[in-house]
Subunit: 312 residues, 2 copies
């Protein structure tokens, strides 16, 4: 019956969660967002209670299956969904969603993350694997260099539907620490950085970081203020541009490729699109929120089909 | 008369100051150290009073000239000693030491810093120019690639007694922020980093940072803890090695040269010497404390000689 929920999809991260009711056609019937992320939910192990409260508020029927991804599957989460080793086929990762035991209200499965152990650069992802699977359903095409910006940006090389290798850059965290607490804080004051990458200061800094070592240019923000009286807004845009430009240049060298699939939403999408263009890379944009929801729908499809497959 | 002070030398930085009485042969007769750096002394503009208190305690005679360097000459210091533009001959910089007006107790001169305005990478130094001048007197030789590690490391290309160009790396500050406040803090705990660069973790990280983008390896510290149970001490040494190795690799690319003159003291000297060796660079070590004192003696020589030069 159209309009009836077939399952619930839950993107459950460190600080936030989102819940959707999805019908048989893969359309979202309802959505709820909250701040009850891992950090909040693990206090008193309230994962099950939080989930049920949201589902009840959305009128989800008893026994409706749930598919979830993100930090909810970490060791300190609800149930640990052990990492699958890269290189990893995305279909296989989604099919290994781990059932939550001792939750009588309904079946709940959590998508595992992916771990990279080879190559001297151990790395992990949780949640991004589901977005990557969603991209396949949204865009078609199985091979991309994917940029997923944020507090901890991920760059992922996907080939033929497999996560080959990836790297994490602490770009957002570095911006936050350097802008507020380093010697550069004097130069930035309370000025917000260029939000959408439209300023020349931002774009120049992106290009500079691509041509030289960005870390050796950070102090130029301070010196520029002392010598040329550069404004706080310029300083903030330069810091943002150097960090994002440094991330892009390093990732482009590491992974090759002149085209990038940018998976982001809102202002972050504008900022990184401007930076990728300033760096001379081709950009295709996919919405990050849509990607995770679509990935969870793929998870449901793979796991529900397996469960209801007719016998021979 | 041997044993009589000819002048006083003062290294006056952001958080610390040191005073020496120097005799006619350039030997230090007495030394005092204190925490009355710029940040403390500028409260109520106590520079003159602090200096006189130390000189009185050391028994300095009335009218003894003083030569000083460091942040005491910054805009927010005692008297601004405006930057000399790079490329800058070190002798000329020292000769331009600025007299402090309105200090009747004795003549005081402050060595100016050096500013780099060209090349799209504005940068400044204050205090390092005096150390660089000291190196010439200590070592002979007028051309070096100099590494001066610290909270804000400086790399300086000196040719024929001139500061050609230089760069500042926020390595020490990045270590402090990332080790205590980033997601990596979970992996480091309270473990101190390798103090002298003797551990394999530190040296491996230095070499890794030379071969790849170090910023893309920071998260491997976290992932290494999750996947392999790497110890907090290993994590701290890896963070230190990645940051110092990244600084060395970037500076070596920027300035060229396979030999580095390392100007440092104590544990910092051991740590950077180990890192430079792990990175495959030849290292010659000069003591940083001796360099600044010797540079101030050079300053006195150049300025006192000029004042007492006989007429034609």
């Amino acid at each position: 019956v159209s309009g009836a929920a077939r399952f619930a999809a839950v993107d459950w991260g460190t600080t936030r969660m989102r819940v959707w009711l999805i019908d048989v056609a893969g359309e979202a019937l309802a959505e709820r967002r909250s701040d009850e992320g891992l950090l909040s939910a693990r206090e008193g192990n309230r994962f099950g209670a939080i989930l049920e409260a949201h589902l009840a508020a959305m009128g989800a029927p008893a026994g409706l299956p749930v598919f979830s991804c993100g930090m909810v599957g970490a060791r300190q989460g609800w149930v640990e969904a052990p990492y699958v080793a890269a290189p990893a086929a995305l279909d296989a990762v989604l099919s290994q969603a781990v059932p939550v035991p001792n939750h009588p209200a309904r079946p709940v499965r959590i998508v595992p993350g992916i771990a990279q152990r080879e190559g001297g650069a151990p790395d992990v992802m949780r949640g991004e694997e589901t977005q990557l699977a969603g991209l396949r359903a949204m865009l078609g095409g199985d091979s991309h260099l994917v940029c997923m910006p944020g507090t901890h940006s991920k760059w992922v090389s996907v080939r033929d539907g497999r996560v080959e290798r990836f790297a994490t850059y602490l770009t957002g965290e570095l911006f936050s620490l350097l802008s507020r607490q380093s010697i550069l804080a004097h130069s930035l004051g309370d000025a917000p950085p260029d939000a959408d990458g439209g300023s020349p200061s931002f774009r120049d800094a992106v290009r500079q970081a691509g041509a030289a070592d960005w870390a050796g240019l950070l102090f130029s923000i301070r010196a520029g203020g002392l010598l040329d009286g550069a404004s706080p807004a310029d300083a903030a845009s330069r810091l943002s541009g150097l960090l994002i430009g440094g991330e892009i240049a390093a990732a482009a060298r590491r992974f090759g490729g002149d085209g990038v699939l940018l998976v982001a939403s809102g202002a972050m999408a504008d900022l990184y699109a401007a930076a990728l263009e300033a760096a001379g890379l081709g950009v295709r944009l996919a919405d990050a929120d849509e990607a995770v929801r679509t990935g969870l729908i793929e998870t449901a499809r793979l796991n529900l089909d397996a469960e209801t497959e007719p016998g021979p």
